[in-house]
């Protein structure tokens, strides 16, 4: 299978100033040399505790933070992202319909009628109904909002979807529904997914392969069954024992 994304020796550090005028700059190394790849049609789980650098990996891949190292995506491949907090990632002052239409416009659909039709098609694709186009994000439940976010992410026609804790803010039953939706979409559109979570339980049935991150270093990598039954790193054992 072809690699769709290859990350080699990825390092990210943040500089922040402490103290006022006579203070100094502190450098915080968040990612300390990360290498991994995602293959075509694969779901890769990225697990680690909060603050381990998971979101930073996602941002680096999408060029939203400065980094060193190589990130290679196959030519012409687009990546989309679903953000951690479905509340903040939808503009509160726009109806779902215009959010989707704006995404379509930005993806190059300049015909207004076609935008409307495609927005309707997308809202149905992510398991909502036509009436939801007329709602504001604030009028939707967490699960419905996340469905809209998924729809927005699909509009540019991505081959790689980065989902940053897409279900962490949801109830367990809703989590299962969203995971099922993602799995279906992955089949329909032939997506590769980088699935980020702090919870090993969520990843187990969902991912083809997983990597475990601790303080900016990958400590374990493998298929879920193998990682669960025969963890190599102490940190993984720790994570497993807390389930």
């Amino acid at each position: 299978m072809n690699e769709i994304l290859t990350v080699n020796d990825l390092k990210v550090q943040f500089n922040s100033r402490v103290g006022g005028l006579f203070g100094h700059t502190v450098t915080k190394e968040v990612l300390k040399g990360i290498s991994f790849n995602i293959k075509e049609g694969e779901i890769l789980g990225l697990v680690g505790e909060s603050g381990s650098g998971k979101s930073t990996i996602a941002k680096a891949v999408l060029d939203l933070v400065p980094y060193t190292g190589q990130i290679t995506m196959n030519d012409g491949i687009r990546a989309s992202m679903i953000f951690q907090d479905p509340k903040g990632s939808l503009n509160p002052s726009k109806k779902v319909g215009s959010l989707l239409e704006e995404a379509l416009y930005l993806s190059g659909e300049k015909d207004k009628d076609k935008r409307h039709d495609k927005a309707l098609e997308m809202i149905l694709t992510v398991g909502l109904r036509e009436e939801h186009l007329n709602r504001y994000p604030g009028e939707l439940s967490g699960g419905q909002r996340q469905r809209v976010c998924i729809g927005m992410a699909l509009i540019p026609g991505p081959r790689l979807l980065i989902a940053d804790e897409p279900v962490s803010a949801l109830d367990v039953t809703i989590q299962a529904q969203i995971l099922e939706l993602l799995k279906n979409l992955q089949h329909t559109f032939g997506l590769s997914i980088l699935f980020i979570s702090h919870d090993l339980r969520v990843v187990y049935n969902f991912c083809d392969r997983l990597i475990i991150l601790k303080s900016g270093i990958i400590v374990e990598e493998g298929v879920p069954a193998q990682v669960y039954s025969n963890p190599k790193a102490d940190y993984t054992k720790e994570l497993l024992s807390s389930i």
Partner: protein, 264 residues
């Protein structure tokens, strides 16, 4: 605040504003005497059926003058708030969104200007521009820019790091598009509130400036001018000061109640 009380404020505020607007526009349609027409025989005529608000020291119709004056005051306040909001949005959006050195410089200038009371600042501009109605609009408008810029900047600063903005960026939206189409609508609620408060301040500032004789020029009426002219006749003709005073109070009260009802 409780919703009930907010609704009450909203209804009362809207009611007062509608009343004032009707008062001004009906007054301009009805065949009243010209606001500047002098008639020596009517000097200090008390309120009566024929002259509901009475007449002033030149025998001019106070009703016509209050209507005309309210209209000028209203227009001046509108112009002032428009200038303040328009440039305030541009400056606030650019500084809040881009940050950096431009932000630092503009905001330090802003703070320096903001440190002066806007009426004092307006007086300073008037001393450069000369007295007159348009000059007052420009002077007050400029003096109002910093407070609007500050509010808009705060909102843009808050919004620019939110995920929905990153989302739009990933989809390829330009900075201008993000500022105008994505962020600006989210600042409108806060902006509306400050527009209403700004409107109040503008009404009061115009009244003070005309009171000091540097706003609307005689013989044209403005509410502030009328108050200032009525000063000498407070005991002789209390109606002369009462009605323009009442008009100012109603205008300020109406917009004040409305802005209260929009507060979070």
């Amino acid at each position: 605040m409780k919703t009930n009380k907010k609704n009450f404020n909203f209804i009362l505020g809207i009611g007062i504003i509608i009343f004032m607007v009707l008062f001004v526009f009906l007054g301009r349609i009805l065949p009243l005497r010209d606001a500047n027409a002098i008639d020596a025989t009517l000097k200090f005529a008390p309120p009566s059926l024929k002259h509901p608000f009475g007449c002033d020291n030149f025998g001019r119709e106070i009703l016509s003058r209050v209507i005309q004056g309210s209209f000028s005051t209203f227009c001046i306040a509108l112009g002032t708030v428009f200038i303040g909001t328009f440039f305030g949005i541009i400056i606030g959006a650019l500084t809040g969104y881009f940050g950096g050195l431009v932000d630092e410089i503009l905001m330090r200038i802003n703070d320096a200007i903001f440190a002066f009371p806007s009426i004092l600042l307006a007086l300073l501009f008037i001393s450069l521009l000369g007295p007159g109605t348009y000059q007052v609009v420009i002077a007050l408008g400029i003096a109002f820019i910093p407070s609007f810029a500050r509010i808009v900047r705060g909102e843009f600063l808050k919004n620019r790091n939110m995920d929905y903005v990153k989302c739009a960026k990933l989809l390829g939206a330009s900075d201008l598009r993000i500022m105008v189409i994505h962020i600006l609508p989210n600042t409108l609620k806060v902006l509306l509130n400050s527009v209403l408060i700004g409107f109040n301040n503008a009404v009061l500032a115009e009244a003070s400036m005309s009171f000091l004789g540097i706003g609307v020029q005689p013989p044209d009426p403005s509410l502030g001018r009328m108050l200032s002219e009525a000063q000498g006749f407070l005991f002789k003709a209390p109606n002369y000061a009462l009605f323009p005073g009442l008009a100012i109070i109603l205008m300020v009260l109406g917009f004040g109640l409305l802005s209260d009802s929009f507060e979070k």
